[in-house]
């Protein structure tokens, strides 16, 4: 009993024997090398020199402006990953980051449209977090009250969220002075995320990092974090141990949704400034994968988000230098993820 209770936490923080660590490292290297090699073969099949293409990507990622772009792209991914990490600790699968991000952006934009001036920004972020929490709360409520699994409902809610945003920007919230494309009026300068001095990076990254550290601290050092992992490990045992399972599940989903909603509001106030179709372009799904890449550990998830952002930015080189279609980078991302998900450790069966 005790063993099962402490097990999920214990594996993460006790020291790993050197040999296991080496073997793990070797397996990761092998998996990633395999992914890159497969990608190179595909490039060859398209008649593109893979060495030139890959060195071009690396060069692209390490120029000054690109590094800034990586950080900017990673910001909503980090927050979106936290929206997966925290519920996952309680055994919940939040596939709804995409929708929660959208609702967060919608809530943020709504406040931005209604409240003029710099006072709007904190309210926008709060509204974004609240909106995301509400959206995740629907899924949590359906799980707790009628027993419908959250993976199903969060996925369905993504579409509803997208349609809500499109509905609003197509008519009620459309910028009357805009070009006729569906979009809201841009945020005032005072309503936008301030920039980190001397860079193009907006302050959202600080928010994201603080949230990541907070999640890490909560999961690592608080009884709440411990209780979540007990529920995640064995809900029945948790119930018998007298833990308020329902409330813990609700809290995990609400917090996760709040992080995703915050991601949406931050992305809106830091980069986009107005709602428009394609606002999130799969940010929620990529963040879900970043969380998986990090095996649902908060700090590694920050690294995974940065990695995936870097792959995207480096991918620009594929078309600017190698003349390949822009979406080609998705192949590399997919192969890397597949390698890590399936081939970076011993198979379960």
């Amino acid at each position: 009993m005790t063993a099962t209770l402490t097990q999920p936490v214990a594996t993460e923080h006790t020291g790993i024997p050197l040999r296991t660590a080496l073997r793990t490292a070797a397996r990761w290297t092998g998996a990633l090398a395999g992914a890159v090699a497969l990608f190179a073969v595909l490039l060859l099949a398209k008649g593109v020199d893979p060495v030139a293409a890959l060195t071009g990507m690396i060069a692209q990622a390490f120029t000054g402006p690109s590094l800034e772009q990586i950080v900017i792209k990673a910001t909503p991914l980090i927050l979106g990953a936290m929206a997966v990490v925290l519920p996952a600790r309680a055994g919940l699968t939040n596939v709804g980051g995409e929708g929660q991000i959208l609702i967060g952006a919608v809530a943020g934009a709504g406040v931005g449209l209604a409240v003029p001036g710099p006072a709007a920004l904190p309210l926008m972020l709060l509204a974004g977090a609240a909106g995301g929490a509400l959206w995740a709360g629907v899924a949590a409520a359906m799980r707790l009250v009628v027993g419908v699994n959250e993976a199903v409902t969060t996925l369905l809610l993504n579409y509803v969220a997208l349609d809500i945003m499109l509905y609003l920007i197509y008519e009620p919230w459309k910028d009357p002075h805009g070009s006729g494309q569906p979009a809201t009026r841009p945020l005032e300068i005072a309503q936008r995320m301030p920039l980190v001095s001397g860079t193009a990076i907006h302050m959202g990254i600080v928010v994201a990092l603080l949230v990541a550290v907070a999640v890490w601290l909560v999961l690592r050092g608080t009884s709440f974090g411990f209780h979540l992992s007990v529920v995640g490990g064995n809900p029945e045992a948790a119930r018998r141990a007298g833990l308020p399972v329902a409330r813990l599940i609700l809290a995990a989903m609400l917090l996760g949704g709040a992080f995703a909603g915050l991601a949406g509001a931050v992305h809106l106030a830091g980069v986009e400034f107005k709602l428009r179709p394609g606002l999130t372009t799969n940010i929620g799904y990529i963040a879900f994968l970043a969380a998986w890449l990090a095996r649902h550990r908060p700090l590694p998830a920050v690294g995974a988000a940065l990695l995936l952002a870097a792959v995207t930015v480096a991918g620009d080189s594929l078309q600017l230098d190698s003349g390949l279609p822009a979406a080609t980078v998705n192949v590399l991302m997919g192969l890397v993820l597949l390698a890590v998900l399936g081939w970076s450790r011993h198979a379960r069966r």
Binding site: S179, Q181, V206, F224, A326
Partner: protein, 385 residues
């Protein structure tokens, strides 16, 4: 439960601390025009030129036409490196791609999609030494010294095509598949109907929107419904055009093309159409920028060219087999007339019969690009906004 609040409080703290951080500056991207720096004129002696496209460069449509223009620039200026990027979405990614091009030496950037304007202005503000020109949109307010927009008067050849459609239709119903009710598109739909009406006073144009520049499945459904309503000539304002043309041809109806000569996939029903020839205009903009005379030139503004002022980059496509000599003569006469007139020469009435352009007046290019109503004879309604 206390710990939940601790978590929430930590998050709130994170947000607050960010907002009160002193080390920050206003996020003015894309809004402020920079002071002209003491450096060289924007674009002067640029070693490279960048082109940004919203779709794939082989879409048989808008983006392919722009890509071909970029290749002509490469031919005219062999010393220039021409960098192209396709499928660049109309959001902040566009600014990122443009910045990458600048890092690769480009001092002249063409942002070729309507929705790239925000990103183009942002990049122009960040790089006073780079010329950023945008294709098709309008800069409102002050034009920065290193930016501008350009376009042809697209609606003029569309008006001429409307004449051919008005003569050819047997049911008196024309169809228009469009993406978004942006002013450019509204101009086209109106001009098409005005052209058709000029030879066939009772003809109607049915307008259906797909809310996407290229969603073939939605296009198929739009075409099917238009055909079902008895429409027998279909034209469109979409970036990819094959789906609608093939559906029209399969149903035995007639096609008016857009962006490119697609008579190959509509051998029976092709009437005529409008297509791009960007090369000369692109090259002249590049020449101006390389010479260091961009600022203050006609391109440092909302530049428009039409039959009245010169060589429209939008030209009429070849005729198909179904167009008779009488129609061709009517089109030629109308084209001649456009040299000192406009498809929107008054009187123009809107759908409610209200006179929008009074008799005897001819609106200028800028006025036409702000038209936000369908003219009499167009069936369809614009979303309220």
């Amino acid at each position: 439960m206390r710990t939940i609040f601790a978590g929430a409080a930590l998050t709130a703290l994170a947000v607050l601390s960010t907002l009160t951080t002193a080390a920050c500056s206003a996020n003015t991207a894309g809004t402020a025009a920079p002071a002209v720096s003491g450096g060289a004129a924007p674009g002067k002696d640029s070693p490279a030129v960048g082109f940004v496209f919203v779709g794939p460069k082989d879409d048989y449509g808008y983006n392919q036409a722009a890509y071909q223009g970029s290749q002509e620039v490469a031919k005219v200026f062999p010393q220039l490196k021409v960098i192209t990027a396709e499928n660049v979405p109309e959001d902040d990614n566009a600014a990122r791609v443009m910045n990458s091009m600048i890092a690769k030496g480009a001092r002249i950037i063409f942002a070729t999609s309507y929705g790239h304007l925000d990103a183009a202005l942002k990049v122009a503000a960040e790089h006073p030494d780079v010329v950023v020109v945008q294709q098709g949109n309008l800069i409102t307010g002050t034009t920065p010294p290193n930016a501008g927009t350009f376009f042809g008067t697209v609606y003029e050849p569309v008006y001429l095509a409307g004449i051919a459609a008005g003569k050819a239709t047997k049911t008196g119903k024309l169809g228009y598949v469009y993406a978004f009710p942006i002013s450019q598109t509204i101009d086209n739909i109106d001009a098409f109907e005005l052209g058709a009406r000029s030879v066939n006073p009772t003809v109607k144009t049915y307008a259906v929107s797909t809310s996407s520049w290229c969603d073939p499945a939605k296009q198929a459904e739009a075409a099917a419904n238009l055909l079902k309503q008895g429409v027998d000539v279909i034209t469109q304002h979409q970036d990819c055009t094959a789906t609608v043309i093939k559906a029209t041809e399969a149903a035995g109806a007639m096609t008016v093309g857009y962006h490119a000569d697609a008579s190959g996939i509509a051998p029976k029903g092709w009437l005529t159409g409008s297509q791009w020839n960007w090369g000369p205009l692109y090259s002249d903009i590049v020449r101006t920028a390389l010479a260091g005379t961009f600022t203050g030139s006609k391109y440092n503004a909302n530049f428009r060219v039409g039959y009245k002022t010169g060589d429209n980059p939008f030209v009429q496509s070849p005729y198909g087999p179904g167009v008779d000599e009488e129609t061709k003569k009517l089109v030629d006469a109308a084209k001649e007339k456009l040299r000192n007139s406009s498809p929107f020469a008054g009187p123009v009435r809107d759908q409610d019969g209200k006179v929008r352009v009074p008799e005897g007046t001819t609106p200028d290019y800028e006025t036409i690009e702000k038209i936000d109503y369908f003219v009499e004879g167009v069936v369809g309604s614009l979303p309220k906004s």
